[in-house]
């Protein structure tokens, strides 16, 4: 996909429908955020893309100048399908030619967009009252109430439903219901876990870790903190995994083309359950380098955006390992299914008081069971054991995390 013919090594010739994980086959281009003539660089938000798991901000995977938008908003394509053509050099802006986007897609919140799609309402027929006249969910509600809203904006000449002539193939508007969305999410999860269990020879290990020092340290730290700066134990657990990976790099990577490919950066994917069902695993970039406060903010932020929309494509594709924490539900341990093409998943059960034998005496300690599901093609149980032991060791000095 990279092209050597541009001035920058980063130049690409096309924007394609990104793969947001092993479970994604297709995506819908919801909204363009660039137009022909715009210069973009890697990481710029160029579009919004919707999959079974929600709406994501699509980042450019290289640099260039947008030459042509190839698909209209609302178009569903296969992963990898070209969405826009880029040129390497800047070109004169097309003064007269209108962007092929034709009727500029109305700005709307993801929730409003989804509700409108559910009810088969054309967003173009709705007057937005949100910031910058964006359509918010209340606007869609108002449009639903009367069949034909008398307050709809006077649309010049054409009736609202008639699509303006566009050089792009018209996309059929999918009418999705909530049940459809849940089914699609389940199918996406099913595809990923079935592939994982089919292709990855898992091995599983577990260890119980005494968290007394961690819990005491955290309680003291949190007592001094205002509520917005408090840290939950999960942040410490995630940090311990990230730091332990530094000395156990074979668990931080992907299995591709028949070989383990290590990754230098440690991006921990966080398994987040969606309200209403399903699972999403956005990555926290460079997890091992984040101070605990920053990691806590990142964790909180990524959970919020996972549930409300607004995750970026890189967050959906960059994870080098996954952490799943079902401790809040009271389970003792979880043996996870590795998210392909990753090679490991660390699971945490609940932190609970348990009898703890040490130095010939019995006491009661807060204990967590840490599990590792790992790809036996990439590592062996001996290596995994040492990794788990390192996590346990790190959690004995929480102030160092």
């Amino acid at each position: 996909m990279s092209s050597p013919n541009g001035p920058s090594r980063d130049a690409v010739t096309e924007l394609r429908m990104p793969s947001l994980g092993a479970d994604m086959e297709r995506g819908t281009l919801v909204l363009w955020k660039v137009k022909p003539g715009d210069t973009i660089k890697r990481g710029d938000i160029v579009a919004e893309v919707e999959t079974e798991k929600g709406v994501f901000e699509m980042e450019a995977d290289g640099a260039g100048v947008v030459a042509e938008l190839l698909v209209a908003p609302g178009t569903r394509t296969l992963v990898g399908a070209p969405l826009a053509r880029l040129s390497a050099e800047s070109m004169p802006r097309p003064a007269a030619a209108p962007p092929p986007q034709a009727p500029a897609a109305p700005r709307a919140s993801p929730a409003a967009r989804r509700l409108a799609a559910e009810r088969g309402i054309d967003l173009a027929s709705i007057v937005g009252t949100g910031p910058d006249h964006a359509i918010v969910i209340a606007d869609v509600d108002r449009a639903i109430a009367p069949l034909r809203p008398p307050t709809a904006a006077p649309v010049p000449s054409a009736p609202p439903a008639a699509p303006a002539p566009s050089p792009l193939p018209a996309a059929p508007t999918p009418t999705t219901t909530r049940a459809d969305a849940v089914r699609a999410m389940r199918q996406a999860v099913a595809a990923a876990v079935a592939r994982s269990k089919r292709e990855i020879p898992h091995y599983y290990l577990s260890v119980d870790v005494d968290l007394e020092k961690t819990i005491v340290w955290l309680a003291e730290a949190n007592a001094k903190r205002p509520i917005a700066e408090r840290i939950v134990p999960a942040a410490l657990l995630v940090k311990s995994v990230a730091v332990a990976l530094r000395s156990h790099p074979d668990l931080n990577g992907v299995w591709a083309d028949g070989a383990l490919q290590l990754r230098d950066a440690i991006h921990v994917g966080i398994a987040v359950s969606m309200r209403g069902g399903g699972l999403i695993t956005p990555a926290i970039h460079n997890t091992d380098t984040l101070p605990l406060d920053a990691l806590m903010r990142a964790l909180s932020d990524v959970v919020r955006r996972a549930r409300s929309g607004g995750l970026r494509t890189s967050e959906m594709t960059d994870a080098t390992i996954t952490v799943s924490n079902l401790g809040d539900e009271g389970v003792t341990s979880l043996f996870g299914i590795i998210y392909p093409p990753q090679v490991a998943l660390v699971g945490f059960g609940s932190i609970a008081e348990r009898p703890w034998a040490e130095h010939g005496a019995l006491s009661v300690r807060p204990v967590v069971t840490v599990t590792l599901a790992a790809d036996h093609r990439a590592t062996d149980g001996h290596y995994g054991s040492r990794f788990l032991r390192q996590i346990g060791r790190l959690l004995q000095t929480p102030e160092m995390l």
Partner: protein
């Protein structure tokens, strides 16, 4: 601020993190975390929303005292600066 007003604000805070909650079916005398799908981050966000709306910072040591909706209302009523936002620097 009346208890009803506090209750309304607490429910709003709860629905901010768990939009599916139906106040009509929520038992106010049973622990929220048994009835509502809240993980530890949701719960912290819920308490932060209470703080933002009602000016009451519930310390971690008091989490056991705010398990139910009734508990939350009682805690805010007895600890609150009565809906005054906390001035910066006094937290």
């Amino acid at each position: 601020m009346t208890n009803d007003e506090i209750r309304a604000a607490v429910v709003t805070a709860l629905r901010g993190v768990a939009p599916e909650v139906d106040p009509a079916t929520l038992r106010t005398d049973l622990p929220l975390r048994g009835q509502v799908d809240l993980d530890s981050i949701d719960y912290l966000n819920f308490l932060m929303a209470i703080h933002a709306a009602l000016g009451v910072d519930i310390p971690e040591a008091a989490y056991a005292q705010v398990a139910t909706l009734d508990d939350c209302v009682a805690y805010v009523a007895s600890h609150g600066p009565q809906a005054q936002p906390v001035p910066p620097g006094e937290r």
